[in-house]
């Protein structure tokens, strides 16, 4: 019924294992960097995997391909997961992941468009990604209406946002604009992991009811388990089929997913693991990946 093909069983298993490998690399690179954010990248690994290995129309060999789908990462601080996913997708070599946050690296502490292929926008300061995604979606609209060459402006725009950045005014300005202008070629995904630097979102500055808020701004709202890639693909397909509104997918995720001592603990929002913690985290992740089960037993 919808354009996007579902994930078949064998593929799902492969993608889930890939997401776990991505988590391992995230832990390794954060340990190497000595600073950076842990919880968000681990929590979003499934969503990034599904986007870059199933949803997005893109070509790592041609990162500036005009018709590529755009994925805007609004909360730039979770970029370790973006970098690892891009590397696995073939944008650059996995070796380079070790350079995160180091002098002369292309892997800046927060992503920079001009530094690395595959980055659609510079981000870090929160609340500005959705508007930029709107700008890209408006450009696509203009190009598809007025272009004489076929194919131009045929891309879709996706914006990944954090829940915490919903406290930024700029974000709601964008929500208002997209609702008014029926930006149906734009889909937002909220990483609803309930944590931010200073604590749980509902204590720091409550966001609920997020669904009702988006609906009030004329958005179509879908809620999914953010660790279920099939749910995400279904939701993305549904979003594509809706013409009257932009769609936001509220993805309920577990911050620090896969590492028991990081899960749901806001203290892991903005810090990297030390050597011991990384060892423990990798052990857990490898066990999850069923690859070194014996080590666990």
């Amino acid at each position: 019924m919808w354009g996007m093909k579902p994930i078949h069983d064998g593929r799902l298993e492969y993608l889930e294992e890939l997401a776990n490998k991505i988590r391992e690399k995230v832990v390794e690179m954060l340990l190497e960097a000595g600073s950076g954010h842990s919880a968000g990248p681990l929590g979003m690994a499934d969503i990034f995997t599904a986007f870059y290995f199933h949803i997005l129309s893109h070509d790592p060999k041609k990162p500036m391909w005009a018709e590529r789908d755009r994925l805007v990462l609004s909360n730039g601080h979770i970029c370790p997961v973006l970098y690892v996913t891009l590397a696995y997708a073939g944008y650059f070599h996995l070796e380079e992941l070790k350079t995160l946050r180091k002098l002369n690296t292309r892997l800046q502490g927060h992503p920079h468009r001009l530094a690395l292929p595959g980055i659609e926008t510079t981000s870090g300061p929160l609340g500005s990604g959705l508007s930029q995604a709107i700008g890209m979606a408006l450009a696509a609209r203009l190009d598809s209406t007025h272009s004489t060459s076929s194919g131009q402006g045929k891309y879709r725009v996706y914006c990944l946002t954090s829940d915490g950045e919903h406290q930024e005014g700029n974000h709601w300005e964008a929500v208002m604009f997209a609702g008014k202008n029926k930006m149906n070629n734009l889909t937002a995904v909220v990483d609803r992991n309930n944590i931010q630097i200073d604590g749980f979102t509902e204590n720091v500055m409550p966001l609920e009811s997020l669904k009702a808020k988006y609906e009030a701004f004329n958005w179509n709202v879908l809620e999914i388990d953010g660790h279920n890639m099939r749910d995400l693909v279904d939701a993305i397909s549904e979003a594509e089929a809706i013409y009257e509104k932009p769609t936001v997918i509220i993805a309920h995720t577990i911050p620090g997913k896969g590492v028991s001592f990081m899960e749901r603990d806001y203290k892991w929002h903005g810090k990297p693991p030390n050597k011991e913690e990384a060892k423990k985290a990798l052990h857990e992740l490898r066990t999850l990946g069923r690859r070194i089960k014996s080590e666990h037993e």
Binding site: A66, H112, T121, G124, Q132, N170
Partner: protein
Amino acid sequence: MNTNNMLNPQLHLNPKLFDADVEQKPIRDGYGDGIVLAGDSDKNVVALCADLMESTRSEAFAKKFPERFFEIGVAEQNMATIAAGLGVSGKIPFIASYATFSPGRNYEQIRTTIAYNDSNVKIAGHHAGISVGPDGATHQATEDIAIMRVMPNMKVFVPCDSIEAKKATLAAAKIWGPVYLRFAREKSPVITTEATPFMPGKAQIFWQSKKPQVVIIACGVLVYNALLAARELEKEKIGTVVLNSPSIKPLDEKTILGLVSKYPAVVTVEEHQIHGGLGGAVAELFAKRHPVPMEFVGLKDTFGESGSPKELIEKYGMGVKDIKNAVIRTLKRTYEV
């Protein structure tokens, strides 16, 4: 004495420049004319506005190219960031609001998503300077040149009249990368003509006495006051050069250094804080390359207030008399050195 002789004949300036009935037009009108022309010549030019269509002169573009005009509502941060997305997607967005709001309120968005991100966005800051008048200091941008000039990747143009504003707007559309354009609200004398050349990065000698002693470097609406001051000083046997420097960044260092090597005393004139704007840019250049006595005409670390534009310019020390006094002060310092 025919003081029109002192005007640079190569620039085809308005021959009625010093007449009582000199044509007056708001500088911002040039923005409106400029974006329409830019939109005609390139279909990728788009315009955005934050609920100030009429006063930012965005109306004509919106009428002519409705599909390429985006009304953002009162949301300058959203305007800058939507433009940033358009600018990395092959469009040439112009964003217009009052300069106190854009680039005032949305400074960080401009920094991260336009300048650092190198998005091809043109920022039109309207109602700049205290000549905004009765609206008061909240609406009088007097720090905008400084905050845009310090930003890497950003170019800054401050046109002196509506015709130069039109040319600067057209030029901005053709230059790749972020540009800040600054426009004043009130009607002001039209100094240049359609035949006057405009080149980004270039300053032009508008006036040169037979025996210049001081170089007056001015931008924006106060270029006219600088010319009036030069004319009066000439009658008092003090020769000057008046250099119009619409391009604050890049600054025309070659022309400026060439002049001060011959006439080593300088007054900068701008409707802006004396810190960080044109005066700051020129002072940085001199400190490094050619220190000379220098005076700054502009706002002296203070906010404006309500009043008529003329009253405010006088009260805050940017009138013709203030420019003359600054010239005389630099001359005295020259002799002291």
